[in-house]
Subunit: 417 residues, 2 copies
């Protein structure tokens, strides 16, 4: 039953559907415990009434290490990143309190009664929408990831960074966003035929802005008011955020206040000096909007310690800005052989996809890694291939295969091969 | 384009996919505003850096009315309900801080290092699992609703209750739960052939317990450690909750500490004096585990006020413990005619399903309502039909059609016809 399907002890992805597996981690119950009344040795919390109810729940105090790790820019207060702790999470949804953030000038505290969204430029009727008005519009919901174009950029360094998954790849998160299809608002203003791009601008003190092709705006973008059921939180754009499924995070403008229709990109700072990638040729990639397929093993990963040889589940996340993930392969022998992982249903386009595969760890040193393929046939590259194409000075859009070395003593480190 | 498909102004569910709709809620931008620099009249929050980052986010202070409404039993402290404010939510996910709760003796504060799960009774090897051990087991994720068997019970009253949706139907919520398939843990203990039921018991001070058929336990139940990505919160069962997809909430035992395999139900309080339904015959329904199909319009609903005649979207939630929702029909003329609503993809089994339909409100008094059909062909009954079958003394499992009367002045009330 435990016949490997690939090197290093990888087992058939359907193994856990079979019956009667024994993991042997549990303790046998002593006859003494069974003989006693089950009322004996009750934990202290069963001996007195519990805490009162709360209007808005919080995580357990015992989970107070599961936080966003905030990294500020000491030269520019209000500029920085809060990383989602992907190594502590399971499933595919990122809870709202832990969704990653990239801030340009802090978190504005916006009064929704005063906030307005203006649609102007190449339109026949420039319009201003209040939040109250927008709440009456038709909505739709999309499960999708948002990933910063600069996520995983430590991968370009010559020496593998030794941090937990979340502090390396945690500028990506996944939510159910609900809001108004962007085309409804643009069309109400009357799009002129000369319009081909729009500038989206936020109401933070940086007035963060960027150009977006009109085709994408009319396709699947939404002006989101809700994240995972409730109104969006201040750090993620309250009261309005533009959601641009599958495209780099900077386009998903928070605190959205202005949509300016234009006939060519406006060459703002965020599409010229930033969010472009210097290539070995000396030229730079520009408007590299789509986030290519990526995957990584979240457990086991750096920061975990393997307990002892035995049966384990390797699990992680995969996603692609081009559509659905079709396959995630896992290797437990450093890439010599690969086995297909199980994808958790439902697999949704432009959404985190959880993969899992059973694994018999023999207790020897191995390197585990994953690679994703999406529905366009694109396969996540090895680091060597990516660097060959793009050099090491591009900073953005790093999506190479991630490898974890597991030592015989159970310790785990990040390696490049 | 705005040709009704049913009485009261219901429009084709695909209408919002067409282009160029005008809702006319927006204000035209005056030439004065457009002529000015866009830097003029900036809101105050654009004139100074925003707030610092936080390790764990919170909702905006402007949304502090979106809370669980807690209803305690003054005769029995620790006993009560916290209602999910479904009228304030959109999409299908309930955020963790707002997931409904039903408490029997308060919220225990459990130290996960001391918590244990015992599997005993009709097994060959009684076992005790620590949380640390359980975290190594294979996991799977399920999007599913949990609904208290007593949800919507105000519907049995002779006079329609006049409260917002959440305080009437908010003992239902929907999350992505991740944990260990229950069959893996039971089989590791070795299920004896005489076992046909199990008692699940919680570690709260009520030692809440209930009997569950072994067939269901081996089918799709999970011992959940994660809710919407993060570890389950204290109020929802930290560190362990049994998830029994589609079956009444009381079976989804929180703070799970014991699984006792037995050969017949143990006739605990929660399956005899409670969670059974007295029928007109004088007999009671027992083991009425599955939550039948239900739907309700969340917007517009009681507590909203219609602004003025015009184009609107009617939206709400539908779910069924028997599988997927296949159809939700909406009526805007008190049930004379019905039109099919659009179901938000992906439609998942035993999961909240968001429905939406465009509606042209003419400004006259109308009654709107919805009815759901699931993949077994079961259709949500009218109240009259339900009462004919079950009388009015059953308390649990109320799932009749919900009707909202919209007056010409825009005010909304709950009615029975």
């Amino acid at each position: 039953m435990l016949t490997p399907v690939a090197g290093g002890g990888l087992l058939d992805r359907r193994l856990f559907l079979t019956r009667g597996l024994v993991f042997s981690t549990a303790t046998a119950v002593s006859p003494l415990i069974l003989a006693k009344s089950t009322d004996s040795q009750l934990p202290s919390w069963m001996l007195k009434p519990g805490e009162p109810f709360s209007n808005y729940g919080k995580p357990s105090l015992h989970e107070n290490k599961t936080i966003r790790w905030a990294m500020g820019n000491s030269m520019a207060p209000g500029n920085g990143v809060s990383w989602a702790p992907l190594h502590d999470l399971e499933g595919t949804i990122t809870p709202n309190g832990l969704h990653f953030e990239r801030h340009h000038n802090g978190v504005p505290q916006i009064d929704p009664a005063q906030h307005q969204l203006m649609v102007h430029g190449l339109v026949s009727n420039p319009l201003i929408f209040s939040i109250e008005n927008l709440l009456r519009y038709p909505m739709r919901s999309i499960f999708c990831f948002i990933e910063c174009g600069g996520n995983s950029n430590a991968g370009w360094r010559n020496i593998p960074i030794q941090t937990q998954v979340g502090y390396f790849h945690g500028m990506a998160s996944c939510s159910e966003w609900t809001g108004i299809p962007l085309h409804v608002l643009l069309e109400e203003a009357g799009i002129k035929s000369s319009a081909t791009w729009l500038i989206a601008e936020g109401a933070d003190a940086a007035a963060m802005n960027i150009s977006i092709p009109l085709d994408k705006a009319l396709d699947d973008c939404i002006v989101a008011l809700y994240q995972n059921g409730e109104r969006i939180r201040p750090e993620n754009g309250y009261p309005l955020r533009l959601v641009v499924p599958g495209w780099e995070g900077v386009l998903n403008v928070k605190w959205l206040r202005r949509l300016h229709l234009i006939s060519q990109p406006s060459m703002t700072r965020n599409e010229t000096s930033k969010y472009t990638e210097l290539l070995p040729s000396g030229k730079a990639r520009q408007f590299s909007f789509i986030m290519d397929a990526k995957s990584l093993i979240t457990n086991p990963s750096l920061g975990y310690k393997m307990a002892k040889p035995g049966l384990y589940q390797i699990t992680g996340l995969a996603w692609s800005g081009r559509g659905k993930i079709t396959t995630v392969e896992v290797s437990a022998d450093g890439g010599k052989t690969w086995a297909e992982a199980e994808l958790q249903e439902p697999v949704m386009a432009r959404c985190f996809t959880r993969f899992r595969i059973p694994w018999q760890w023999q207790g020897d040193q191995v390197t585990i890694k994953s690679r994703a393929t999406d529905e366009t046939g694109y396969r996540q590259p090895e680091r060597e291939t990516l660097i060959k194409q793009r050099g090491t000075n591009g900073y953005f859009h790093y999506n190479a295969v991630v490898s974890w070395k597991i030592q015989a003593d159970g310790l785990i480190s990040h390696v490049y091969t």
